[in-house]
Symmetry: D2
Subunit: 354 residues, 4 copies
């Protein structure tokens, strides 16, 4: 089988990760990179036999490119993706799908009509810790779920950022929380500020609700905490599930446990403690898994593992977070029929009357 010809658009930090990951994937071959900064691009390419183009349109003229990965700044996602779709190329666009709902919907619609794949790079979907958490919740390991709590904090990253934490960080967890709970977010109350970043909000905390009177959510993202943490914790009737996105550890701590018989120690450790289990999990590099999944869905013509609709759903939630934080009011997300593109409504945000 001829390997899939891949074109990479954007050779910044994210693009560099793509470049290294594609090298390890047998069924595809990275053959071209587009980036206005030639020097940066050539440094990334190093001694690999990969062509450089100053513009994504030139790259799209290259006949061997079957599919493109868009790692350009988020604000350019829509334009580049629409060009690639128009040129009949399959597209893997880094998250967020776009920076405006109408752009995301337009992209979804265009890909649908052109019959090409449009996958959104929500890389945490390919984190085995997330998969394990979703599986455990689905099979009732902690019974009825009460709350999901996501933490994605750390120092300001070195890479370029044209968006704030709502779009850059929160989209990850807004997508993952909906995915592992199997429920859509229905309402959001967020607070946040630009604390030290020159132009973007850099700290946001949100309270969420999933489904109709379903579990609560707590989301805490920032670029201020001096120690990097990426965690998801879900509390339910039977105990607590915790996953570290970074180390891919997944824990189950049971609620019902032996009551303590030592009062002094109980002041520190609690009046009862259940058993805890860390699962044996095969760790994998999520980005490599994502790229493999993209290549597979193109080669086998199967549905995208993360669809444009799901990308739009995460974007809608991220925009609602910003809206709520900006206006200090709860925001409701309509349960839009996002599954079918043609029916997609106008922007799904709506202020709630208190």
């Amino acid at each position: 089988m001829t390997p899939l010809g891949i074109g990479l658009i954007g050779a910044g930090r994210m693009g560099a990760f793509h470049m290294e990951s594609w090298e390890r994937i047998e069924q595809a071959r990275l053959i071209a990179v587009a980036d206005p900064d030639e020097r940066a691009a050539r440094t990334r390419i190093a001694r690999r036999p990969i062509d450089w183009y100053p513009d994504h349109r030139l790259l799209l003229e290259c006949a061997d490119v079957d599919a493109v990965c868009i790692c350009a700044p988020s604000a350019c996602h829509a334009e580049i993706a629409l060009d690639a779709i128009a040129a009949g190329r399959h597209v893997l666009v880094e998250k967020p799908i776009a920076t405006a709902m109408e752009d995301g919907l337009r992209m979804a619609s265009a890909a649908h009509l052109a019959g090409v794949k449009l996958m959104v790079g929500h890389v945490e979907r390919f984190n085995p810790a997330v998969g394990k958490l979703a599986e455990l919740i689905a099979r009732g390991a902690i019974g009825r779920v009460f709350r999901a709590h996501a933490t994605r904090v750390g120092p300001l990253p070195a890479r370029v950022r044209d968006t704030g934490v709502a779009i850059d960080l929160a989209t990850h967890d807004l997508d993952i929380m909906q995915f592992v709970l199997g429920l859509d977010i229905t309402s959001i109350y967020a607070q946040g500020s630009r604390c030290v970043h020159p132009s973007q909000e850099d700290m946001i905390a949100c309270l969420l609700r999933f489904g109709d009177a379903g579990p609560w959510g707590l989301l805490d993202v920032n670029w201020l905490t001096p120690e990097k943490r990426r965690e998801l914790t879900v509390i339910g009737e039977g105990g607590m599930l915790s996953a570290s996105y970074l180390t891919q550890d997944v824990w189950l701590t049971e609620s019902s446990g032996a009551p303590s018989g030592w009062s002094d120690l109980a002041r520190i450790r609690g009046d009862a403690e259940g058993a805890a289990v860390r699962f044996a999990l095969r760790r994998i590099e999520p980005l490599q898994a994502e790229l493999e999944a993209f290549a597979r869905c193109v080669l086998e013509d199967t549905p995208e593992p993360v669809s444009a609709q799901e990308g739009c759903r995460a974007l809608a939630a991220a925009l609602a977070v910003r809206d709520s934080a900006a206006h200090e009011r709860p925001v409701t997300l309509l349960d839009t029929p996002l599954r079918r593109v043609d029916d997609l409504p106008a922007p799904p945000l709506m202020p709630v009357a208190a």
Copy 2:
């Protein structure tokens, strides 16, 4: 100096802690305990020469009792405290000061007029980790403060509870956060539910604002998490301060640090990391420190270390938390002139128009 004669009202779990702590305090002597359950009371008393009374009114007739500690259920605090004040006794009432604002205000007023001490047992004020955190913030160790985050979660405690987590747990942190930041809470948005408790809310998460456009707050309390945690973390311009209420560790992690030169490790540890310091702190048992402070303010006739006004302020915030959670709307706390009792306004809760 004759030691202070102490009467203890309520011999449940909290009362038992008081009993043991008073034994270690030289300037006071526990001489009487009132509790309707004679058997329980006598078990707690064991072989100590302490009298038992079935009713707090009988205890108040005992001439040697100079001051009382109220460890009865929260709903009885007001009635007992008012009786004790009427009988001319100094009062240490466990937190919350009462379960209704008007009761708290009435107690404050009565003590003021009677010229007796009325102290509220916000025990975490006497936690040396809290004192260190407050000192570090005050002297600018992390510069401008952006957010405080309090976590008070763990399994359902074995002791009797006549109140939910808003009153039982959140009051601690609502008081401490205002204390360490030196600012009043101005608005609250809370969500929460009764998940497994037979009658009370057992999980609440709140977003707070301190002062006028001051720092944000995040408060997470429940009786569901299977592992006990009691922590306060404050993020500011220069770094992060963290305190564990349980182990009394206080950490400062600096924001500005060495940028990482190893990309693979940076994916786990972040792109930069500042230095971290755990301070050498003299650990003390907070309840014993609280009781000593109470004895001292009575014996030396100095202001109460935690005043009735501060107890009312914490109660007002806890009630606002419940109100917000019940009605799913943001609630504003008026900046009431709580410092002078006579001017205290009607209940300080008010729904905000979105």
Copy 3:
């Protein structure tokens, strides 16, 4: 049933712990304390109805004393115990049983002839984490055992010490390791020094062998490490068992696990990782459990839970540790028939020819 009358000999820090623990035990009553320092003793006694004696011989004249706890300095254990046995009293002597083998053997023999109980206070035997570890090893949870590793380090304690770390700390683990492995120590190589202590060795590390070509042992004790740790880890064919004596957590980490599929993370986390389990354990205060067990063996006339023979075995090992460290040579412990007192041989230490 009349409660057992207890006399406490030695009111130092250890004696104070005994005093508090006996208060919580229903089937016994602490009625007398002997200590030459009247002021210290009376402070410990506080308001409890307990008599004070300046000398243990006077206490032994007290007819209500059925049994004594010896918390005096280790060097006095033998003399006091022999006096108590001669007076027909049951004896709980703090570990080490004595500071010389001949003393320990004499005590064992005297108690045997007098028909009184002589129990040694190896308190960690009553630590539920130790019991769980022993049970898991016995039922093959990690298969064939390769090594036990005990760590008992921390800052110099505040209490009085008339012995070095070999006797004061290592005796705990020398006893426990033999207990959980079900094998006697056969040889010891130790190194250690007096580093900062005015008169005693304060750091020792030993390599041990259990049984005949059985598992290895590693023992690390000191009063120098600035952070307190008390841990026991056992590695076997199927995985690792770890217990914290302090928090009473017991962990099982399995050896066979999922091989890692992510090379960069594997550099930090290893090429494979098995599942890990923390057991739900009912925590208890080990000293209280020890005192209860002592009272029970007296009241029910059952064998001592920790016999004088076991106390002698731990002492023999501790003395071998000192001998090896002093002479920088391996030392062999003869497999003495310690089980029957009358056959006990002369000191069981013997230098090995290299």
Copy 4:
């Protein structure tokens, strides 16, 4: 400046790490790889313009190769290195320098006479955590040093191993401990066994002595512990230094601290606790730093950062570990004048008479 031409001998797991690291180094270029397994080699090379040779002798005929990295099995190090030296090439040989002392000494001597560089790849020397530890000890951060404790344990790695843990793991720490303490090892007592490995010892624990009555050492290495740990802890008069080789964290915990005023908590946390500091350290990938250092010493004709003599010293210690473990006796290392090759004595191992 023409970049240094590098030839890599051995394309196993270690060779693959070299290959990736050389790609990131500007002043050198990897141009040829020798490995008998063509398929494996070509997979590692992927699309890079690098030549493959089935035999290191063919690679050495390649005129553009200025220097070679030897990543072949340890038993082949000597033969390959001597061939490379004879061909006038600079040599970086992975640790251990060889598997027999006479080989190591022969290599050192040959390189000396040929005037080429011979560096040994003790990669932990380039770990910034090690450098920081050495610097802190040198400048007296913990005063007089009492003991160093190295732990290098974890599950059996996936890579091929032709040697046991003494040579494969312990050489790292035997070198690093001597380096950070600035003292040679003078005596060793080791115990260990082959537990599950088909042919090699897989668990060793050693007690060491540094210098003449200098600090003690404790070294614990195995392929059995299910969780990977790589740590070095040094205790001294003023406190404890700890480094994690994996995360490159370095901690200083001070000995003198605030005495605890809370007895119940002190049972868990100790009677006193000093301040602790984690230093802000610029993390780097040690292998890349090693390769850069090698390239620099060749290009600038400066002494090798890790000399053949130091490689021999580490090997001598590792062989002594095996000797001691095999014969269960203490072994003394003569303080050989290892600094000048020509004077190097016969194997420096000697059994001690007990």
